[in-house]
């Protein structure tokens, strides 16, 4: 089977634009949580979130798209631009027909919907500009990534909620292996959403101050935004052009809980991790880092740790399991794409990012969560977990390229 490797990473996150700033801040345990400014939160129970405060499409050289693109799309095209630059490829000139695009999201251009709704409900506006309406369809995001880069390969939009990034990376890998693309731009994008913020607040699932995965006194998750796009290409293509390789994508597994829309199921998560290992042709003994879904809710953390215990047996304490959501909050459809980038960077640099805000161990979550401080440790095989509303689970396996 054709090998697929990651040769470019583009990130727009609350702790850094671009992989250098992101990685430096991630390893130093910096939090991206700040007061929400996208909308007024005074009527909400909590007031903090993971907004990307210094994101500016102008600085990215994309000002001409501000009027016609949703924030989801702006985040996606910006991350794409950084990823392509990082890869050194000239896609529109050299690979217009054999580059695929796969982007994941939870609610897509939800900020554009919220804007229209607010205009209608609070201000009685009845007429909207065509540009404003055209931002709303979910696939406006995958489409603008393809169009802007002049790519005619398959252009896919995955709406599988908080596991969407991994779905997109996985299918991009499939398309290269199936010979339908030589290169794939894959990842996820999510704008800061009032609907998500309100919903999770009403679920009493949002932490008031900080996200504390695996901590006994955790108070919940943090709503956040961001985007990550990775450049995938066939190994032979990467070698031929002398590209820098971050990691190899070994495979991925999907499963569905088929139980409950919002409560995770241990059975479903176990199945997902086992499929990922099987399709990657490796055993549980070979995994040496797990990037947890780790939202910081009791339900998620306990289910995930129980599942890790079942899959990895006695070895579970030996494997570092960290959650970078402790720093970024939950970037929804972008989360697993950002986390996959972190896995690739961990493999490349030999450092594992920490779980910050860890104070009191939870006996039910006694994994080695790399508490508070990054660790210098070689990673050969990383597993990137993601679980979503609806019981959509996706685990991705990356391997050091040698």
């Amino acid at each position: 089977m054709k090998k697929v490797v990651i040769t470019g990473i583009g990130l727009i996150t609350s702790i850094g634009i671009g992989k250098e700033e992101f990685w430096k801040n991630l390893l130093s345990g910096r939090s991206g949580i700040s007061p929400v400014t996208a909308f007024d939160t005074k009527e909400h129970f909590t007031h903090l979130g993971g907004e990307v405060k210094n994101f500016s499409p102008e600085d990215m050289g994309l000002s001409e798209y501000i009027d016609t693109c949703s924030r989801a799309s702006l985040l996606a095209i910006s991350a794409t631009k950084l990823a392509i630059e990082d890869s050194g490829l000239n896609l529109s000139a050299e690979h217009p027909t054999d580059t695929a695009v796969c982007i994941g999201t939870t609610m897509g251009a939800v900020q554009s919907s919220e804007f229209i709704n607010e205009q209608m409900v609070l201000h009685g506006v009845q007429q909207f500009r065509r540009e404003e309406i055209s931002k709303v369809p979910t696939h406006s995001t995958s489409s603008i990534v393809s169009r802007l880069n002049k790519l005619s390969g398959p252009s896919m939009m995955f709406s599988t909620a908080c596991a969407a990034g991994n779905y997109a990376i996985g299918y991009g890998t499939d398309l290269i292996r199936l010979g339908r693309a030589q290169i794939a731009l894959v990842g996820g994008a999510e704008p800061f959403s009032k609907v998500a913020f309100t919903g999770f607040n009403q679920f009493k699932a949002v932490a008031p101050e900080k996200c504390q995965p695996f901590d006994k006194n955790r108070k919940g998750m943090m709503v956040a935004e961001g985007a990550a796009v990775l450049v995938l290409e066939s190994l032979e293509h990467a070698l031929e052009r002398g590209a820098e390789i971050y990691a190899e994508v070994l495979g991925y597994g999907l499963s569905c809980d088929a139980k409950h829309m919002t409560t995770p199921s241990v059975e479903g998560i176990v199945l997902c991790m086992k499929k990922a290992l099987r399709y990657s042709g490796i055993t549980p003994d070979e995994v040496d880092y797990i990037s947890a879904h780790g939202t910081g809710t009791i339900a998620n953390d306990r289910a995930e740790v129980a599942a890790i215990k079942e899959v990895f047996g006695n070895r579970y304490r030996e494997i570092p399991v960290s959650s970078i959501k402790s720093m970024l909050g939950h970037t929804m459809g972008a989360a697993s794409a950002i986390e996959a980038s972190a896995c690739a960077l961990a493999i490349k640099t030999g450092y594992i990012p920490p779980t910050i805000n860890f104070e009191t161990p939870d006996p039910d979550c006694d994994v080695d969560c790399v508490p508070n401080v990054a660790r210098k440790q070689e990673v050969y095989i990383a597993m990137n977990n993601s679980y979503a509303f609806g019981g959509n689970n996706a685990s991705l396996i990356l391997k050091k390229f040698s």
Partner: protein, 404 residues
């Protein structure tokens, strides 16, 4: 027998033309009038008052009352179509086969109404008074995930949002997963509900037929076409590997020959569709003349119809027969691919071609061999389904009849 051979063994449909595949097919072949006054929301302030709304859908026929309360219309439609598809194929999902069964749905606007309603409640009542039990409906994968919960489908669950191509892309994704042996059976389709948000959006973008107050009419490729008629519904097909279907003596409706999807990155939107069609033909070693009938996704809008007619002419010439079922059922957005694939399968089993109704005088730029009178086509062996989306997506899928 190649292990990559895939077959369609069941169809479940909730559509304005009928509920269940037989009623749907009869409605299409008769060119049933599906247009009616919109009852799901107020059309005050709009010049257009009609759409293809499903009026005889009773969710209680498919979903227990206790589960129904919080499910939005999209979810109800998709669960109902799934129920019919499973019944049609004779599959019973159980602990033995559930891990080898997947679910893939195309849905782009499926949760839009739920997002707007949830947000509206927050705007009017205040965010502390919003009912959290409706929050799960706001994720776009909610219909597909609820269907998985309802029928306990545990293999995998994927929602694809590529607009008018969503169900076709979902079908392609499902085929890939079967060929990669990640499942034995995949339920695949699409859903979209009629709601005021989509209606308003299309209305204000000038895409609906009857904007001037005249009776809306969907007349694909017609010289006087003036826009689309909004529709809704859900279609789910049961797709499995041939050997799996034969082992369980399943009723095979059609076989998958090949498929491709691509994107048009430039103003000349035809390039992507050309690539998709040519790749689908090439990967099956077929020539254009090997296709007996094309199911077009033309929806009576100026650009899309012209685009599809132009590409069909350039690849197939003017001989190949073309039909556009949206003339009868309207534009159900993400569900349209499911309806197209279902009718293509039905055409192959019944050797009937559904007519393109309403199209009386062809646009000179769309001078194709349009089937305006339905009827039998005895030699019907292989059909192509195509889809195009205004944002640039395009897909092509070739199916052929099954002979044991």
């Amino acid at each position: 027998m190649k292990d990559s051979e895939l077959v369609i063994t069941g169809i479940g449909i909730i559509s304005p033309a009928g509920i269940g595949k037989d009623a749907f097919w009869q409605g299409l072949c008769e060119g049933k009038n599906c247009l009616g006054d919109i009852t799901l929301f107020s059309t005050d302030g709009f010049n257009v008052k009609k759409a293809c709304e499903i009026t005889d859908f009773n969710p209680l026929d498919f979903i227990h009352k206790r589960h129904l309360r919080t499910l939005d219309r999209s979810t109800r439609l998709l669960i109902a179509a799934t129920s019919l598809a499973l019944e049609d194929s004779g599959i019973n999902i159980n602990e033995q086969n559930t891990f080898d069964t997947g679910f893939v749905a195309g849905s782009t606007f499926g949760s839009l109404h739920s997002i707007f309603q949830f947000d509206r409640e927050g705007l009017i009542e205040g965010p502390k008074y919003v009912n959290p039990s409706f929050f799960p409906n706001t994720v776009i994968n909610s219909p597909a995930s609820q269907a998985a919960i309802q029928f306990k489908i545990k293999g995998f669950n994927t929602t694809i949002s590529t607009g008018l191509c969503a169900s076709l892309d979902a079908f392609i994704y499902a085929c890939d997963f079967l060929r990669l042996k990640r499942a034995n059976t995949v339920l695949v389709g699409g859903v979209e509900e009629l709601c005021e948000e989509i209606f308003m959006g299309l209305y204000q973008c000038g895409l609906l037929s009857g904007l001037d107050g005249s009776e809306p009419i969907c007349s694909p490729f017609d010289k006087n076409r003036n826009g689309l008629v909004l529709s809704e519904g859900a279609a789910v097909l049961v797709l499995e590997r041939k050997e799996h279907a034969l082992r369980r003596d399943a009723p095979v409706l059609a076989m998958v020959v090949s498929y491709a999807n691509s994107f048009s990155p430039n103003k000349k939107q035809s390039s992507g569709l050309e690539i998709s069609i040519n790749r689908a033909l090439k990967s099956a070693n077929l020539k254009p003349e090997d296709i007996d009938l094309v199911f077009s996704s033309a929806n009576s809008t100026k650009e899309l119809d012209r685009l599809e007619a132009g590409v069909i002419k350039s690849i197939f010439g003017k001989k190949v027969k073309i039909t556009a079922i949206k003339s009868t059922i309207g534009e159900p957005c993400s569900a349209s691919g499911g309806f197209l694939l279902s009718s293509a399968s039905m055409a192959l089993t019944t050797k009937l071609v559904p007519p393109t109704v309403n199209s009386k005088e062809l646009d000179p730029e769309c001078d194709i061999n349009l089937v305006t009178e339905g009827g039998g086509l005895s030699g019907l062996k292989r059909v192509m389904v195509i889809g195009s989306d205004p944002y640039g997506n395009s897909s092509a899928i070739i199916l052929q009849g099954y002979e044991s």
